[in-house]
Symmetry: C2
Subunit: 359 residues, 2 copies
């Protein structure tokens, strides 16, 4: 992956930023992210799929191959989970030198009500044959990587694929899945970075080898140098984001806030354990106070938090920091890697507090 | 407005690009843009508005002031129009030096089914008093511009405000208006650039002076130098966009296509007259062929077009060019202005055609 040392964004990256989009931070106000505000990362083009002729094929090392229509999938037991998904590249632009790619700041996250049928039931119906060591999920999205044609594919271990919460999803927030979120069918793997939740899913193959495709072993791996073997990414590290208080400047997005009591609000999540602590700082991380945590909507959804601040005139740098039950805590500084993944350093929001602000 | 001479995007502009987003060009496939794929430009923060306590206030030079709840607005005569909206800053990054601001490439467009009640009926009920020369529309979105607090406000002439097609809108694509598109109420002014369609609209004021607010006379004006008075923008110039054929590279978005017959498809629109012609070029604009035009869904919606191409191996630059009934035709080169507005130069899509492509 190329590196940028200039601190600026190239025209090619801008084309990506114009297509993909993050959650505007004020939309952290919603427990469930409204349609169109959930983060979106499309590797190639959004496929246009006819739901009437669509089939999910299940094959490979199975007792019997399946070909399931959307109606057949909808007729199966349905489950809805509230799930927070985050892009593994979130925070990429905080790294220096910056890995070239979709230039996420910190907003590549969203929470939706995903409705579908448990993957496990479909796997049990197909009957996984001894010798199958991975479940391979294939999407309909196709493009090129360094001149090679690549379809989007990812695998899971049979144990991960059989977890209760892993769903074959056809609805989002009570509506049919939108094209850009994988219509007519996608995988949702709660707790994992978004890359595992394969969109436009049309085939599941049980295989007897370790899948080594581009999106499994080339991208979405942690490495320090191109020759490193790389460690595939899986579950989300903890992160907290706050709603920037006050009002923004239209160009710089710098914030101005009136002095006085203000409740700072945000959301925190982790794929590695329940969020057990969120701390807030108004001095750039020099000192911290504990925020109040609200219950999460599910084991896979972010937790809302809030913290009361008596804002005094002057310049402040607000930060928040989440920790999970597994002992993972957000770092104050990024950890560099070649792909620009999982930079969960604490968010920093500079705010100018003025004695009066007549809005 | 500051100018960038480097050809790269600053971190501040990237924060804008991460929030705002364009229509992914493959989504030109849809007559009506699905939720979340319509372009989105938010000047400040997306307000969170309680629809239950919301009121639209109509005042100023009126016979009687109105305060209308959302239920009262919904109980009025309802109209649905299919309308194409485009941001006035679309094409900004095609200018050199580049005006600093939301760095649109060409995708700042979308088409939706907007449902609401005609503005005219509300104005007639309030009774416009003699001496009112403008209708001022106020949004709830607020921020700062060069240190000054600004609420989003725009005006129309009484004649423009009374046009049949101007709506007070509470639904989009058959669903309640989404927060980012102006919930619970917005103006939609078909034919005009998007800045006229004030979102989060909560007050309409009849005034006896020419409104000179920031978004009317400072931004959204054509000028060559900061001291110019500036010409306010109004109706959309024609533009055509094509769906880039073939498959994209994930990073560069460069396209690869298999040789052979391919139907090139796109959409064209203008706010100044019906689209009467779309031409396609495969040689960067050296020669042109006429595309077939489909009927538009309404007088305010884009027209689909298609053109049959027998793609031969090699490098090609696809272009398309729209013209309207008023005689406006897209230029081959941009016309520079300080704000980076209405650059409707023809789209250019480089494509590599290969003899075989096994997708």
């Amino acid at each position: 992956m190329a590196l940028d040392h200039t601190g600026t964004i190239s025209p090619a990256e801008l084309r990506l930023a114009a297509r993909n989009h993050g959650l505007p931070l004020e939309a952290l106000a919603y427990d469930v992210t409204p349609a169109g505000l959930h983060y979106l990362l499309t590797h190639y083009d959004i496929p246009v799929v006819d739901p009437a002729s669509f089939r999910l094929r299940v094959g490979g090392l199975v007792g019997r191959e399946l070909s399931l229509s959307l109606d057949e999938l909808r007729a199966r037991p349905a489950v809805t989970h509230v799930v927070t998904l985050e892009c593994a590249g979130n925070g990429r632009t905080g790294l220096s030198p910056r890995p070239v790619g979709q230039p996420w700041v910190v907003e590549a996250v969203g929470t939706a009500e995903w409705t579908g049928t448990p993957l496990r039931g479909v796997l049990e119906e197909a009957g996984v044959v001894d010798g199958a060591i991975e479940v391979l999920f294939g999407g309909l999205d196709t493009g090129t990587e360094d001149g090679e044609i690549v379809r989007y594919e990812r695998s899971l271990s049979p144990a991960d694929a059989h977890r209760d919460e892993v769903l074959l999803v056809y609805a989002m927030n009570g509506q049919p899945l939108l094209p850009q979120h994988g219509a007519p069918l996608r995988l949702v793997v709660p707790g994992w970075y978004g890359m595992a939740s394969v969109k436009w899913l049309d085939r599941i193959t049980l295989i007897d080898y370790e899948f080594g495709g581009h999106h499994q072993r080339e991208s979405y791996c942690l490495r320090q140098a191109p020759e490193d073997e790389g460690v595939p990414l899986s579950r989300m590290q903890p992160r907290s984001l706050l709603i920037p208080p006050g009002i923004p400047d239209s160009g710089s997005r710098e914030r101005t806030l009136a002095a006085g009591p203000v409740t700072v609000r945000g959301r925190a999540w982790s794929g590695r354990g329940k969020i057990v602590r969120v701390e807030v700082s108004i001095d750039g991380g020099a000192s911290w106070s504990d925020a109040r945590l609200a219950p999460a909507a599910s084991d896979y959804a972010w937790r809302a938090w809030e913290w009361d601040w008596d804002a005094q005139p002057g310049e402040h740098e607000l930060c928040c920091r989440a920790g999970d039950a597994a002992g993972n805590v957000q770092p104050l500084e990024p950890t560099w890697n070649l792909g620009g993944y999982i930079n969960n350093e604490v968010q920093r929001v500079p705010v100018t507090v003025v004695s009066q602000l007549d809005v």
